[in-house]
Amino acid sequence: MPTEHVFPEAGAKAAAAAQEFEGEKMSLSMGPSHPSTHGVLRLQMEIDGEVLTKAEPILGYLHRGDEKIAENMTYNQFVPYTDRLDYLAPLANNVAYAIAVEKLANLEIPPRCQAIRVICCELARISSHLMGLGAYGIDVGAWTVFLYSFTEREKLYRLFEELTGARFTTSYTRIGGVSRDVPEGWTDRVNAFCDQFLPILEEILRLLTRNKIFTDRTVDIGVISKDDAVAYGLTGPNLRGSGVALDLRKDKPYSGYEQYEFDVPVGTKGDCYDRYLVRGEEMRQSVRIIKQAVAKFPGGDWYAKDAKKIFAPPKDKVLSSMEELIHNFMIVTEGPLIPPGEVYFEAENPKGILGFYIVSKGGGVPWRLKIRSPSFCNLSILPKVCVGAMISDVVSILGSFDFVMGECDR
């Protein structure tokens, strides 16, 4: 028997109202300047109440045309531009770029230089993950984590400053080596940093890992299945969080990574919590690598001495010998002489796999340089994971991706 309204008029009104709101969706734009979009990402969302029905990342607000710029300068001059890709780990970018060009030139890099680069990469990884962790903490409402992780990051920046002369924009590598050797006692200070860092890292992680407020916001949020992660080309901690153990430091070792012992942490579920846990564990592993690298820090040359046409001669020689002076001028004005050919090299950066595809027609200037940036590829899955999530979850998901727009838009 059909229900009969006692007050038919009111019933009709209510039904009409329900119909009016049903299916009505609101579009909401998050960013490009929103604190939780970590830079200038804009998310064009369509929401039904609190739930997202569509999310589209809109990129390009930080586009600088780095790839085109590269075609107009020598290989070495492009190094400062790589700082500004993933600006939270400039050293790792410097290293990836230098190795790519060296691979094109078929250049042997002495072990000392390789060890310096490994230490640099791992320190950069720690600093990037600390930043990611701190910012994630803020995103989900835990301010303290940010303060503690920044204190540690500052110590790292002191080390970078000593090594490269700058805290942030390190521009440290050159094709065939690095800009200068490690200063006296620097490796000991790196070691000392590692020793004091581990307990502090545990303390920082303890604030979040078993914290109900934190797990409420991350567990089972933004789940990415193994297949999806692979299909969308995710890399780095985001891929490993979904349980795929792809780490180029193990799978395709470069710069002497094969000598070091470390584990690759993977997640099981692929949710925000797993990505967080993977980053935490990666920092511990990085410390392990650094300690090994420092323990067997090789002596010898810190740049490829034989590559006379690629690495500029030492300053002393430039000032005292005509031949070296001319070499210096040639390398600076023409650029390091790289044979024609093409190369694709990818390195395991803190955010994922950073790739450089370089085409050379010979000479000191790349003919074409393409950058495969991990953040860009990682964001491609956003429209998929965000659908069905609540608006507040989007903040959590974005934070767990730990992307950086500098390299996304390049």
Binding site: E203, K212, I213, L319, N328
Partner: protein, 179 residues
């Protein structure tokens, strides 16, 4: 290949009550309350600048007070953001430094463009340009942010020299004349 799975045990009942976390969080906070401050009272206190720091680029003089730059323009060429502008000039034949032949007439570095990369210092064949430990440049106008030659020399001061290569040239010339 050593792959480890990150540990994710479900929270215990006690942890689900929020209480242990709150307590341990407070403990951490109290511990840090008693530790020394990690921040500096800038600008009264200044951080230590390590040697080799890449601050504002400056022009330097050698111990005899000679401006070392010979306006070879290598730094102008290499500067990635094109912050340096040099107008080369001649050294008149009567000058004591005549064997050097060239010196910059004007030397400007636009600090709004400079990215402190240190390439100018690295390529300079005369050790004439150095990034020293000055790190804060301020100004009210764009013009103020362009460092001209006098300002650059004033910022740079005098640095020791190992080679004195131009004196060697002078000696060689004199000896050549004597022969």
């Amino acid at each position: 290949m050593a792959v480890i799975q990150v540990d994710r045990k479900p929270l215990t009942f006690a942890e689900r009550t929020y209480i242990p976390q709150i307590l341990s969080g407070l403990k951490t906070t109290w511990k840090h309350l008693r530790s020394t401050a990690v921040t500096l009272e800038y600008p009264e206190q200044r951080p230590n600048i390590p040697p080799g720091y890449r601050g504002v680029p400056t022009l330097v003089k050698d111990p005899h007070g000679r401006e070392k730059c010979v306006s070879c323009q290598l730094c102008e060429f290499v500067c990635p953001p094109k912050a340096i502008r040099i107008t080369p000039g001649e050294i008149p034949p009567g000058s004591p430094n005549r064997q050097i032949e060239k010196a910059p007439q004007a030397f400007d570095i636009d600090m709004l463009r400079c990215i402190y990369c240190g390439f100018c210092q690295e390529v300079c064949p005369e050790e004439a340009i150095f990034l020293q430990n000055q790190y804060s440049m301020t100004g009210y106008t764009r013009e103020e942010m362009v460092n001209h030659k006098d300002k650059l020399l004033e910022l740079g001061g005098t640095l020791p020299d190992k080679h004195f290569k131009w004196e060697k040239k002078l000696h060689a010339e004199q000896e050549g004349n004597a022969h």
